[in-house]
């Protein structure tokens, strides 16, 4: 999480912790480490808030009904916006980690008897990632409804979240990586032998609490539910046409209930995409509750475990199915991808200085906020993989820019309204999602290194053969969009032209018979046509122009 946000987390997290403020070993209870956030007392005390409102405990987890305390430098509306920014970054990061894990599944080593199962797991995790996309968009809607800028940003991997006791890391799917997802999505009060084992595998120390993004949403509910803190006038219903709409983003997925059959895998329910418009306090609260519950689904702990509605329950089921398999087979279900693959060496990468072998499940404790930095990232040096990686990053940027751009344009107020280019941008965003999936498919099959078999310190080390690259998901230098709209289309043009160069560069190193060439030819063709469309918009000749 970016430092400008993390400096406020010290004020925010104590409020969200489910442990009593005095409990030892909390996430901020460890010693300060140079270069990291200095913990602040978990008791906000008289200096922490300016409202004079005290903290009271109520509810099962101690957060739902706790009276919020306003941190320094904020008023309530702005504080709400900052919490939403944190939520957006976490949803974004969860989504990308899940995508990486899902893309890692498969490969020629998967035993025949497990292939249907592995394909099913992949579809489940992709479905969860899609639902995180829905959360991500709904959080943007909440921001938009409050008149705040949207936030599509996040830190590159690996990064210590300060929110979780384990770093956010791009890792192939293993029981250990799965354990961190389960913990991240776990509901308050999750306990028992299985919980203890999974938490240990995720690197959570005994007695240490794990925050949930659900807690963040509950805090937002507490703030937004209070008219004294956020008045009705702060909700701008007129922004609705600018918000993401299920009808535009939901595609064939279900709304309100999970589908009976995803089509890709028999007997598997389709994801439920919650893309909720916000126009009032009630709609804001409803949206927050729904997306909070889809992650951890409190009711899941009360049922017989057969209803796989929550992310937590779905991950847990995969985990249970996975560890029922022989240990050797567990290691074969996913390709041996490098952790946190990246396209270039970072000059100021702490990871390089602190680099030590990071064995999943052993490297981190919640009391050491820099421990995550030991989780090294891996530079892609294979010439083809590196260029695929650059192309991946570029198309990832194009996806984010298209989403951001779509939020700047209104949808139709009714069926008779004149259309903007919003539909074009939404389709472009989906097109880039398909590209990311395609390029990831190439990256997971290519070696990460040009030095032959390697993998020291990486989780795939134990098996023969070289480590593979994976989708790097590196963030662009900026996500700011220029004004006015014409300049945004110039940016779109820049990115397409950059893609043309990247494709050309990649084709230069690929043999003519490489299986990736037909795809690159098609990308070049798509880009050429996209440029024509953008030029039409720039010239004011399209149905919708800048």
């Amino acid at each position: 999480m970016r430092s400008r946000i993390t400096r406020h987390l010290g004020s925010v997290l104590p409020e969200l912790l489910t442990v009593p403020p005095t409990a030892p070993g909390g996430i901020l209870g460890g010693p300060a480490t140079p270069g990291t956030l200095t913990p602040i007392p978990t008791d906000p005390g008289p200096d922490a808030g300016t409202t004079g409102v005290g903290t009271t405990e109520a509810g099962s987890d101690g957060t739902a009904d706790r009276v919020p305390v306003l941190p320094p430098e904020f008023n309530w509306r702005d504080y709400t916006v900052m919490l939403l920014h944190i939520a957006a970054e976490i949803e974004h990061s969860l989504m990308v980690q899940y995508l990486f894990a899902a893309y890692s599944l498969g490969g020629p080593d998967v035993p025949d008897r497990l292939r249907a199962q592995v394909r099913r797991w992949q579809e489940i995790i992709l479905g969860i990632a899609k639902e995180e996309m829905g959360h991500f968009l709904t959080v943007q809607n909440l921001l938009t409804a409050l008149g705040a800028p949207i936030n599509l940003d996040r830190e590159d991997y690996p990064w210590g979240t300060e929110f979780y006791p384990f770093p956010f890391t791009l890792r192939r799917l293993t029981p250990a990586s799965l354990a961190t997802y389960i913990c991240a999505e776990s509901p308050p009060g999750w306990s028992g032998d299985e919980a203890t084992a999974i938490r240990r595998l995720a690197g959570v120390e005994a007695g240490q609490e794990v925050n949930q993004v659900g807690a963040l949403y509950r805090r937002l509910v507490a703030v937004l539910g209070d008219r004294e803190l956020v008045p009705d006038s702060d909700f701008q219903a007129a922004t609705l046409p600018f918000q993401a709409d299920w009808d535009e983003w939901g595609r064939g997925y279900t709304r309100g209930e999970r589908g009976r059959d995803s089509g890709n895998v028999p007997e598997l329910e389709a994801p439920e995409l919650l893309i909720l418009g916000v126009h009032s306090r009630d709609s804001a609260l409803s949206a927050l509750r729904q997306i909070g519950e889809q992650g951890e689904a409190l009711d899941d702990l009360k049922d017989d475990g057969q209803d796989e509605t929550s992310h937590f329950r779905r991950f847990l089921t995969i985990y249970q199915e996975m560890i029922a398999e022989p240990e050797d087979d567990r290691d074969k279900i996913s390709r041996r991808l490098a952790d946190n693959p990246r396209t270039s060496h970072r000059l100021r990468d702490d990871a390089a200085r602190f680099a030590t072998p990071a064995v999943a499940g052993t490297a981190h404790t919640g009391t050491d906020l820099t421990a995550h930095r030991k989780h090294i990232s891996r530079e892609i040096t294979d010439p083809a993989a590196l260029r695929w990686g650059h192309l991946f990053n570029l198309r990832y940027r194009m996806l984010l820019v298209s989403i951001a751009h779509a939020f700047r344009l209104s949808g139709p107020l009714d069926h008779a309204g004149a259309l903007t280019a919003r539909g074009i941008l939404i389709h472009r965003a989906f097109g880039e999602m398909y590209n990311l999936r395609a390029i990831a498919g190439a990256l997971v099959r290519l070696p990460v290194s040009d030095q032959g078999p390697s993998g020291q310190g990486q989780s795939g080390q134990s098996r023969s053969g070289s480590l593979r690259a994976g989708p790097p998901f590196e963030m662009p230098y900026t996500l700011d969009l220029p004004e006015p709209d014409r300049n945004r289309w110039l940016l779109q043009r820049d990115l397409v032209q950059a893609s043309q160069l990247a494709v050309r560069d990649l084709r230069d190193v690929l043999p003519a018979a490489d299986s990736g060439v037909p795809y690159l030819v098609a990308v070049a063709d798509t880009d050429r046509r996209a440029l024509e469309l953008i030029e039409r918009v720039l010239a004011g000749r399209g149905p919708c122009h800048a």
């Binding site: 592995v118 010439p383 097109g431 997971v444 098609a522």
Partner: protein, 462 residues
């Protein structure tokens, strides 16, 4: 070598109407490997040139260019039907030629053809037997042009509907095969009248090439589909007509399309019964988008009829990816030809419900609220083309087709929920009047491919 059986290949030949005297040249439709998202390329291909005087093939060549019209008239697609023989030599099919005939002591004159075609469109609506239009060419062995003259009891005396011609091509030294050529009709529209067409007509209808149907004998002129009639097509009223206080009355038009059978017969010495074979022919309208194909074609229907609604894993492995790409390509081509904003039910230039669409049909048939199928902002044609190109691009990477879950199942065509209406293929109807679905076999193939591609081997890198 002994001939055991005969076949006519192809067993189903679809001609296309055209008024030009020169039939359409042969051509291929291919994908440009360097522009895989562009429209398919149309390239001239080897074409038989028939000498009209001798009635045989005089040469074959690849034309320099593909031209669909000559002098402003459409060139008809006139298929060749070839006779093949199953012989006792390893049970192989081989072309029936003058040489093979000679081996059996026969000449081309011993081959006997007969043809029967029909246009039952009026009969389909009125239910009257006397409204059938049939044409028969009895057995012939000559090489003359035989006209397919459609006759109908309800036509004016002496009037027939020209449905094209057939000709048994004279085998030549260079082209010794036994072939028949079907040349469809011109693509004209004819009319009905209660007034003798030989008399001067008041304000003759400029759409019509002539009056054939006697409205005093039959009820086609002024016919209307009766609500509740179980034999009606869905939708009904699909004929040229006028609104008569809520009744859609027929203008009495008829066209010159047809379909039917071509029979061939050969009597061998020593066999009691002659060898026989037959093929089906038909004539449809010209291909005005010859570089495009619909998402579901007759070939897909035949594929399913022959091989069943489920593809085997082997088939999915061999052809699945290419099939998935082909379907998306056809979807792209369909979008290119559609006014997607109108077909989605968008308000266009301030007007609602501007055309016959699935939206109107859903409302008319079921009372569903008139509501665009997709979000109106999403159906800008250029944007949709981009989306489909992106999907096609993704598929070419070898990525498993991830979109199987948005395909409409055959048993979901009446699903009027928002999700159901938005499934693919979208905005189009099938022959049953409800939302179009791919064949079960097409869907099954894509789904099987989607489940198998994640286990591909790894690359070693360049």
């Amino acid at each position: 070598m002994t001939i055991l059986e005969l076949r006519i290949l192809p067993p189903l030949a679809v001609g296309r109407l055209g008024a030009a005297t020169e039939p359409m040249d042969n051509y291929e439709v291919t994908v440009d490997p360097e522009q895989p998202l562009a429209a398919r390329r149309i390239r001239p291909a080897r074409t038989f040139v028939v000498d009209p005087d001798i009635g045989g093939i005089s040469s074959d060549a690849v034309p320099s260019a593909v031209r669909f019209t000559v002098g402003g008239k459409v060139r008809p697609v006139a298929p060749f039907l070839e006779v093949w023989a199953l012989t006792d030599t390893e049970g192989m099919l081989e072309p029936l030629t003058t040489a093979l005939l000679a081996e059996h002591g026969l000449t081309p004159r011993d081959v006997r053809w007969s043809v029967e075609v029909a246009n039952h469109k009026i009969h389909r609506r009125t239910g009257e037997e006397r409204d059938r239009i049939d044409a028969v060419v009895p057995a012939f062995s000559d090489h003359d042009v035989h006209r397919l003259e459609g006759t109908c009891p309800n036509f004016w005396a002496g009037r027939t509907l020209p449905l094209g011609t057939v000709r048994y091509l004279r085998p030549t030294e260079g082209f010794p095969g036994i072939r028949l050529r079907f040349t469809p009709a011109a693509g004209l529209v004819y009319g009905s009248s209660a007034q003798d067409p030989q008399l001067p007509q008041e304000a003759p209808d400029p759409n019509l090439a002539g009056i054939l149907y006697n409205a005093n004998l039959g009820g086609w002129l002024g016919h209307f589909d009766r609500e509740g009639d179980p034999s009606l097509t869905v939708p009904a009223n699909i004929y040229r007509g006028w609104d008569d206080d809520g009744r859609w009355r027929s203008s009495g038009y008829l066209d010159d399309e047809c379909d039917g059978l071509v029979h061939v017969e050969l009597r061998l010495a020593g066999r009691a019964d002659p060898l026989r074979a037959y093929a089906r022919i038909g004539a449809g309208p010209p291909a005005y988008a010859p570089d495009s194909f619909p998402v579901r074609t007759v070939a897909d229907e035949l594929d399913q009829a022959m091989f069943g609604p489920e593809a085997t894993d082997i088939e999915a492995g061999l052809e699945g990816r290419a099939q998935a790409e082909e379907i998306i390509r056809r979807a792209l081509e369909s979008v290119r030809l559609m006014n997607t904003a109108v077909m989605n039910g968008n308000t266009v230039n301030g007007r609602t419900d501007v055309a016959s669409t699935m939206v109107r049909q859903d409302t008319a048939d079921t009372g569903r609220r008139f509501e665009p199928v997709m979000a109106p902002s999403l159906v800008d044609n250029a944007a949709l083309l981009h989306l489909h190109r992106s999907i096609l691009t993704g598929l070419r990477s070898g990525t498993a087709p991830w979109f199987a879950d948005v395909l409409r199942n055959h048993n979901e065509i009446g699903d009027l929920s928002a999700k159901g209406r938005r499934k693919m293929p979208a905005l189009m109807r099938g022959a049953d009047g409800r939302a179009l679905a791919l064949t079960r076999r097409q869907v099954d193939l894509i789904r099987k491919v989607a489940r198998r591609d994640v286990f591909a081997a790894e690359s070693s890198g360049p």
